[in-house]
């Protein structure tokens, strides 16, 4: 079941004591860069990258550390964006409550789909998650509150805690930064917790984990639900940024994209999904005018990534530096 090439995941001492210094430095530099970023690039683009970085990191928790390939993560990302958009527009909730309700809805959906999907393993698991995501897509297409082909448009950005207006892109930027960076740190904490260690053990050798007395299915369901919730947090935040929830976010292409981001950056690494998300979103941004060629290029990256580059960018870097990244 081991999905990773296992080069990046060498156990290191000091893990239990807290974050390794290298990771602390990277996170600090990243945060400093992100605080400065909106003064140099278009904030909406930067916010999009951050949302996808959180999405990919949430997906990586499941695939890279849990060894479970979900091919339907768009269901939680897109599902949450619908719920958050509906909450903000129809219920008139404040941004933070809208985002939280989106994430909570994704968590519930993840729990339900996860509890069914973990009944099959490997390839079947991937197909089952994909099929359920397609079901969510059809519901989004036909249900009334989702607005069908139009989606939910012109979602109000509202006032944070009912006090701070987020209509300005820079104000919203710092809200998005807080949510996504916080989400990524939370995921980091999970990976490096005792729970995360058991996850890795299950990924490496499931029968052995069972024989050691771990309730493997419970762990799988918890990590699936956590991953879906965090993917939902990302999707809900994105709906606030673009003031829109649409079918694109629940489409199977979106599920494929998050797999691609994770594969490209490096499965089972901490920083890989963030790098992968940055690259793919930037690429889509620059190649948007080429239409269907974007699909072809993504396909080529998939094929090359699987054939030649399975460790991903950060995976290779980690091997060179002999550090876990």
């Amino acid at each position: 079941m081991a999905m990773t090439d296992n080069t990046t995941d060498t156990p290191h001492e000091g893990e239990s004591v807290g974050m390794p210094t290298l990771h602390k430095i990277i996170f600090a530099v990243l945060l400093a860069g992100l605080v400065a970023l909106p003064f140099f690039v278009y904030p909406v683009f930067a916010m999009k990258v951050m949302c996808f970085a959180l999405f990919a990191a949430a997906f990586n928790l499941l695939l890279g550390f849990g060894g479970l390939l979900s091919f339907g993560h768009a269901a939680y990302f897109g599902g949450a964006s619908y719920v958050a958009a509906h909450a903000a527009k129809v219920w008139g909730l404040t941004p933070e409550l809208s985002v939280l309700s989106g994430a909570a809805a994704a968590g519930v959906l993840g729990f339900v789909i996860g509890s069914l999907s973990i009944r099959r393993q490997g390839i079947y698991f991937a197909m089952v998650t994909l099929a359920f995501a397609q079901m969510v897509y059809f519901v989004a297409l036909q249900a009334e509150f989702t607005g069908g082909e139009d989606g939910i448009q012109s979602v109000p950005r509202g006032d944070l805690f009912g006090l701070i207006p987020l209509a300005d892109n820079k104000a919203l930027y710092f809200f998005v930064l807080f949510v996504t960076f916080g989400g990524i740190l939370f995921l980091y904490r999970i990976v490096n917790s005792p729970f995360g260690q058991v996850l890795k053990a299950i990924r490496e050798n499931e029968p052995r984990a069972i024989s050691l007395g771990y309730d493997v299915n419970r762990y799988k369901l918890i990590v699936f639900t956590l991953s879906a919730t965090m993917a939902g947090l990302a999707g809900a935040t994105k709906s606030q940024v673009f003031q829109l929830a649409s079918l694109t976010d629940v489409h199977w292409m979106m599920s494929g994209e998050v797999v691609l981001m994770t594969l490209l950056g490096g499965m089972g690494t901490i920083f890989g999904p963030l790098v992968g998300a940055g690259i793919i979103v930037t690429m889509q941004n620059y190649l948007a005018t080429f239409g269907a060629w974007v699909t072809v290029i993504q396909g080529v990256i998939f094929v090359l990534g699987v054939l030649l580059f399975r460790e991903g960018i950060i995976g290779v870097l980690a091997r060179w530096l002999k550090r876990s990244l």
């Binding site: 079941m1 081991a2 999905m3 390939l69 091919f71 069914l116 999907s117 009944r119 099959r120 393993q121 490997g122 390839i123 079947y124 991937a126 197909m127 089952v128 994909l130 099929a131 359920f132 397609q134 079901m135 059809f138 519901v139 297409l141 036909q142 199977w252 494929g256 797999v259 594969l263 239409g291 269907a292 060629w293 974007v294 699909t295 072809v296 993504q298 396909g299 080529v300 990256i301 998939f302 094929v303 990534g305 699987v306 054939l307 399975r310």
Partner: protein, 295 residues
């Protein structure tokens, strides 16, 4: 007696026929997936794209070379199958020693490439493909009108499905194939060229997808997106049936097509999701699938 439910027989039978036709495609496609899975243990995500490619090859044969429907029914699957063999030799075969999820990701990438290329060159509006003259028109059965071509789709799919079943379950070649499914190393030790068999099996499974594409061309417009929704439904069909048995894949395909057709009569809103709901129920009751062997 149909009137009792407030639904007239022509409507019911019409939807049943439509369901049976969809079921024919599900059956041929899930059969191809099952044949490939049996020997290679991989799920071919490119199956939907290759089904679409089959329809396009038929269209190209007609429009560029003047080759009609009947020859295309043989030639197009051969071309698609040959393309599949090329993919197997150059890419897939490099991944057999790895986790099978990598093959899934590879074939997903291939599906994106194939679909994207066709979308670039042919747009998404769809191209028309005429029903062959010998099969145009239809029969008036008294209670309903049966278009000849649609009847042919069902008959052709049944012939191909049961032909494949016969070869795999009842012939010497099929016996080698089944033996290699159980233990490829041992079969290789007996002097059977297993890599060759793997290559041809993938080619054959893919050719089945191409064949389904040609069958579909006159019914649905030839369109780069025609395979993408279908393949996900076929995945659900495969999960429901379980890929352990060839006959299981075939029967589940037809059965679910009919169930979908019936749903369209009694609860139209649910017809898009009914197969997924059935999949959820099967996962609860018999996770290994209706015809599957417990893992």
């Amino acid at each position: 007696m149909f009137e009792l439910l407030g639904i007239s027989p022509p409507v019911l039978l019409g939807q049943l026929l439509l369901g049976l036709i969809n079921g024919s495609f599900y059956a041929v496609l899930s059969l191809g997936l099952a044949v490939i899975f049996g020997l290679l243990n991989i799920i071919n995500f490119a199956h939907g794209a290759l089904y679409m490619a089959g329809a396009f090859v038929a269209w190209m044969l007609l429009n560029y070379l003047g080759i009609g429907y009947w020859p295309a029914l043989i030639v197009a699957p051969l071309i698609v199958g040959a393309f599949g063999i090329l993919l197997e030799r150059t890419m897939l075969s490099r991944l057999y020693h790895l986790d099978h999820l990598y093959s899934l990701l590879l074939t997903f990438g291939l599906a994106l490439i194939i679909q994207g290329l066709f979308r670039n060159y042919y747009g998404i509006s769809g191209l028309p493909y005429q029903i062959p003259p010998a099969l145009s028109g239809g029969q008036n059965l008294g209670f309903m009108f049966l278009p000849n071509y649609r009847a042919w789709v069902v008959v052709a799919s049944v012939i191909v499905c049961f032909g494949t079943w016969f070869v795999i379950e009842k012939t010497r070649l099929g016996a080698y194939l089944r033996a290699a499914t159980e233990n490829p190393t041992l079969v290789g030790a007996f002097g059977v060229n297993v890599p060759l068999m793997v290559m041809l099996t993938y080619g054959f499974g893919v050719a089945l997808a191409g064949f389904a594409g040609v069958l579909a061309a006159p019914i649905y417009s030839v369109n780069p997106n025609m395979g993408e929704q279908l393949i996900i439904v076929v995945f659900a069909v495969v999960v429901i049936g379980g890929m352990g048995s060839i006959m299981g894949a075939i029967l589940t395909g037809y059965l679910l097509g009919i169930v979908e057709g019936l749903t369209r009569v009694f609860y139209p809103e649910g017809s898009a999701v009914v197969i997924f709901v059935i999949m959820a129920i099967v996962l609860l009751i018999k996770p290994e699938g209706l015809f599957g062997r417990p893992a």
